[in-house]
Amino acid sequence: MNYAFAVKWLKAFRDSAEAICELYADDFVFEDPILDQYQIRDKGDLARIFFLYANKDRTNGLGVHNFRIRGYEGDHRSGLIRWEWTPEDCANFIGLDVADKPFFTQGHTFHVYNEDGKIVRESSWWDSGAILNAVGYPGVHKPQFVAKTAVPA
């Protein structure tokens, strides 16, 4: 769609599962393979996915999920939203003890929209390895080339 829609989409994440579900067409396919979410086609399932992202209780361990848009590439019928995700006050994240360990990651979401501007196809992916690096999981290195202008650590 555009940058403004991407912001609207992420603000709806933070608002409620109901608000985010309204942005999807009745006939939709949602996928976030990093969380093993494939071929989600039911609004009830979608609402339960987004329940987590709308959590507003900093004490229940589920975390408050701060997303920021990096950019949008595409047009009104399809495109890529690039985003950054900083879960705050999580106790556990994908099985990792992250209590009091700040971390963030980045990802991208491809959307296809129908003529009414509703999402009919979503494909979301993100860098989970970056989280293992951030929380200091033993033995996991970051892959990186070294640019000629890089300053040694």
Binding site: R48, G74, D75, L96, S123, W126, H141, F145, A150
Partner: protein, 161 residues
């Protein structure tokens, strides 16, 4: 060339012919390739010939004995748009000594990935955004990564905290 055929050519050249792969992209500093979270563009964003060669060399390794691993990328879907395409692919590596520093111990690692390509008016790639699903890889290497199906009816979300 259809979009799925273009996607297959992109994947085939990525792992078999880096020079042909480079020809799919725009001129140096007119393109960016990002294949993970960008912490520092100097180490995470490929935008020159030198970085392209160094950063993507591992994909085209064919020596099963040097420990770098031999990769396969198999395109499964392509979603074409106006000046862009989103590609879904399966990924496999054999013969790698390590993955992100973790010992592989002779395993074949498999997962899935996605790549978004944006083109200029000449059909050259000006942006690549790629993410590989690493959770299955970490699981295959024995790390305690979990992806509970909390969206399924009856799951107690409180158990995630």
């Amino acid at each position: 060339m259809t979009d799925i055929e273009y996607a297959k050519r992109w994947a085939d050249t990525r792992i078999n012919d880096l020079a042909a792969h480079r020809a799919l992209y725009a001129a140096p500093e007119d393109f960016c390739v990002e294949t993970r979270m960008v912490d520092d563009h100097l180490g995470d964003t490929i935008s020159t010939d030198e970085e392209f060669a160094e950063g993507l060399a591992g994909f085209s390794n064919k020596d099963q004995t040097n420990g770098l691993g031999v990769q396969q990328i198999t395109v499964t879907e392509a979603f074409a748009g106006n000046g862009h395409v989103m590609i879904h692919w399966d990924w496999e590596v054999t013969g790698a000594d390590t993955y992100r520093g973790l010992p592989v111990d002779g395993r074949t690692l498999t997962s899935k990935g996605s790549t978004f390509l944006q083109f200029d008016d000449n059909g050259k790639i000006i942006l690549e955004s790629t993410f590989l699903n690493e959770n299955p890889l970490f699981q295959q290497l024995g790390l305690p990564i979990i992806t509970p199906h909390y969206w399924e009816e009856g799951f107690d979300p409180a158990s995630l905290g």
